[in-house]
């Protein structure tokens, strides 16, 4: 099906079902219960899950396959966002031209930056990409303010020209009239599910991106990229020119980043310079490694993991804690709140840091490996039927052991 083998098609199908049912799956708790705090099924966060999923899937094509660790991919995300917002300001609020332009511009940027940075490898490559991204960030924040609107970020405004839009066109990003922020709410007992246009657009694009990434992984090109990671010398003496392969991977991942940036701006028409900062580049590295570099599903999992923490854990304050434990005796309640307090709310970074460390220490193959170990416990017999994911994780371990 779709030129995929059975296993890959199965994976795609599972991802598709999970993605499309996300508004339900991510809202497992009734809206008025104390646990509703952990619901993630609201449009903005779900959009971020899939958009950063796209970003990480693309990054994985570069890092997971070729091993080139870019610390500057946030620059393409930012460039994509700026292009998209400009498109919406100048041309039309329809997201199609915005997204297309963001992919193209990010692609052009990545050709230039990739061409220069790929003259070096290893950490020297990483620092070159970092340098480009930081330059972009610093300039976007300051001297490029006429283009980027600096600190406040580029926003749409009522008096933008929008030459393609008629007088009655929607003034919010839309897909042929369907506004990104329109949503249908379904109540099911005390559960509330929200199905938003924006999320489904992102989800469909993410599935396409995921599908493309499977195809790339299974293609001769993908194999060549893994060969680049494994042994460049052998590549050269096998008659293969590694430069165009790595550059192509760099540009593809740059375009994925641009797509993610364009989608971010389409869901929420704002492009800020912080999107290009090195911490943002670091975030996608963390997502990819945390989920499992070189695996198909890992980057998406990693993206979801980090965004969930950022958005859900940061909102748990002492009031919420007291609410949870209010059924307990006072002293015990206060004790529990005191113990948990440093790890939630303003301490969400601490929890995230600790979890990073735990995952890296105990699950070198990332969350995907964790899932496999978990799965293995339940079906011991099936050990040989290792999926592709298992292979990638295994390979990582073996490389590590050398």
């Amino acid at each position: 099906m779709l030129s995929l083998n059975k296993k890959d098609f199965g994976l795609l199908l599972v991802v598709a079902i999970l993605t499309l049912a996300a508004p339900i799956i991510l809202n497992p708790f009734p809206a008025n219960s104390g646990m509703a705090q952990f619901n993630a099924g609201y449009p903005d966060l779900m959009q971020r899950f899939v958009i950063f999923g796209i970003f990480a899937i693309g990054f994985n094509i570069l890092f997971g396959l070729t091993g080139y660790l870019s610390f500057g991919h946030a620059a393409f995300l930012g460039v994509g966002s700026y292009s998209a917002v400009w498109m919406m300001k100048l041309l039309s609020m329809n997201v199609i031209p915005a997204i297309l332009l963001s992919v193209i511009v990010a692609g052009l940027f990545s050709v230039v930056i990739g061409y220069i940075s790929l003259r070096r490898s290893g950490i020297y490559f990483s620092i070159l990409t970092l340098a480009f991204a930081q330059m972009s960030f610093n300039l976007a924040y300051s001297v490029l303010t006429p283009i980027t609107n600096g600190e406040t970020g580029l926003q749409i405004s009522l008096n933008d020209p929008r030459i393609l839009d008629g007088a009655n066109a929607p003034s919010y990003p839309n897909l042929f009239g369907a506004q990104m922020n329109s949503a249908a709410t379904v109540e099911f007992g005390s559960w509330i599910f929200t199905f938003s246009v924006g999320y489904y657009l992102c989800a469909v694009i993410m599935l396409a991106a995921f599908y493309i990434s499977i195809r790339v992984f299974r293609s001769p090109f993908g194999m060549m990229l893994r060969a680049v990671k494994s042994n460049q010398q052998r590549m050269n003496y096998t008659g293969l020119n590694t430069k165009p392969y790595t550059l192509a991977a760099f540009v593809i991942s740059g375009m994925y980043a641009g797509l993610a940036g364009g989608l971010l701006a389409s869901m929420d028409p704002l492009a800020g310079a912080e999107r290009m900062q090195w911490t943002a580049s670091g975030e996608v590295v963390l997502m990819t490694i945390l989920g499992g570099a070189g695996t198909l599903l890992g980057p998406v999992l990693g993206a979801g993991f980090i965004k969930y923490f950022e958005n859900i854990f940061s909102k748990i304050n002492d009031n919420v804690l007291h609410g949870w434990f209010s059924f307990m005796p006072d002293g015990f309640e206060n004790f529990l709140v005191t113990v948990i307090h440093p790890f939630v709310g303003k301490g969400w970074n601490l929890t995230l840091g600790l979890l990073f460390m735990l995952v890296v220490i105990f699950l070198p193959g990332g969350l995907v490996e964790g899932g496999q170990r978990f799965g293995r416990v339940f079906r011991r017999k099936d050990r040989n039927a290792g999926s592709v994911e298992a292979d990638a994780a295994k390979q990582r371990n073996q490389t590590a052991a050398e």
Binding site: L128, M135, L350, G353, L354, M357
Partner: protein
């Protein structure tokens, strides 16, 4: 002319800070082959050693002061410092004044201990893991360390003053025959410069002239061979990690009066120190020092108005521009060895 001299001086001073931070980073990389993203956090912890000591010195108990009321109109209490009670007013005040230099003594054992614990407890398990894993785990550690500091000290910068004797600035211009005030430079920054030079020199001498240093240098060049010689290189590496942590910590202690320490100062320096190390060449100690000074000086010159008028915003990006130019013209940085971290 005086403007150029002034920025040169300033660049040397900036550069000495960069070099000092980068030195520890490259030491860890060169010896242990570990990319330590928590190095900035060690620098930050060093600065907080100084903060902690001055907090210890200002421990106090409340004594009722009948004369006034506090902001809520309640009876007022005055803080009485234990240190003044125990050592007398004059000695207590002196200790308080000199808390930053005294923190050096306080910081060395702490930083060594942190270094040992980090190496034995965490880093040693990562020698054979890919660099990406090392980056991730040390980055996670850096976040944890800074959040812990934030939990105890808050997010606001904490002023940590240099001793009274070192406040103010020295007028070089007069020495060189310029007008007064043409080239002035704060005493404490001069001390920082000298201190950096001392530490950098010390580390070099230690590696150059001691047997321990010789073994470590041999280990840097070829770890396996040294291992085959039956030398327990692991133990030495642990000590090296402790030393690197101490170097970062001392850089932090002395930096505290220059800029009030805050919990994320480590992250601010992390990217910069990596750029310095890479421009110098991964694993090269002289390279790191050279690159630190080079970038410091260029950054200073880039902040001159005369330069900014021609290239607006150049001071925002100078470090990165220089890094790109150097890496493109010299593939392994200024003094990097071949084959190190090129995969």
């Amino acid at each position: 002319m005086d403007a150029i001299l002034l920025q040169l001086l300033n660049g040397l001073d900036k550069g000495s800070a960069y070099a000092l931070i980068a030195l520890g980073l490259t030491l860890i990389f060169g010896t242990l082959g570990v990319v330590n993203f928590a190095h900035g956090a060690l620098f930050m912890i060093g600065a907080f050693c100084a903060v902690t000591l001055s907090k210890i010195f200002t421990l106090s108990h409340k004594a009722a002061e009948p004369s006034g009321t506090d902001f809520l109109g309640n009876p007022k209490f005055e803080d009485v410092l234990y240190i003044k009670e125990w050592f007398g007013d004059a000695a207590g005040a002196w200790l308080l004044d000199w808390s930053v230099p005294l923190s050096i003594l306080f910081a060395i054992p702490i930083m060594l201990a942190i270094g040992f614990i980090m190496e034995r407890g965490l880093i040693k398990h990562f020698y054979k893991r890919p660099h990406a894993d090392q980056i991730l785990v040390t980055f996670g550690l850096a976040i944890v360390l800074q959040e812990v500091i934030k939990y105890f000290y808050g997010a606001n910068p904490i002023p940590t003053a240099a001793p009274e004797a070192f406040r103010g600035s020295f007028d070089f211009g007069v020495l060189l025959g310029f007008d007064p005030n043409a080239i002035i430079y704060p005493y404490w920054r001069l001390i920082y410069f000298a201190f950096s030079a001392l530490i950098i020199g010390g580390v070099f001498a230690f590696l150059q002239f001691t047997t321990f240093g010789m073994v470590v240098r041999a280990g840097m060049a070829d770890r396996e061979t040294v291992g085959l010689l039956g030398i327990n290189i692991d133990k030495r590496f642990t000590i090296m990690f402790g030393i690197a942590a101490a170097v970062a910590g001392l850089a932090g202690v002395m930096y505290a009066p220059i800029n009030s320490p805050n919990y994320h100062m480590g992250m601010d320096f992390l990217v910069l120190s990596f750029v310095v190390v890479v421009v110098g060449g991964m694993g090269s100690l002289p390279g790191a020092v050279l690159a630190g000074f080079l970038l410091g000086i260029l950054e200073s010159f880039a902040s001159m108005n005369e330069v900014k008028d021609i290239l607006p915003g150049i001071d925002q990006i100078i470090i990165y521009v220089v890094a790109i130019i150097i890496l493109l013209t010299r593939p392994r940085g200024l003094m990097g060895r071949k084959g190190v971290m090129e995969e």
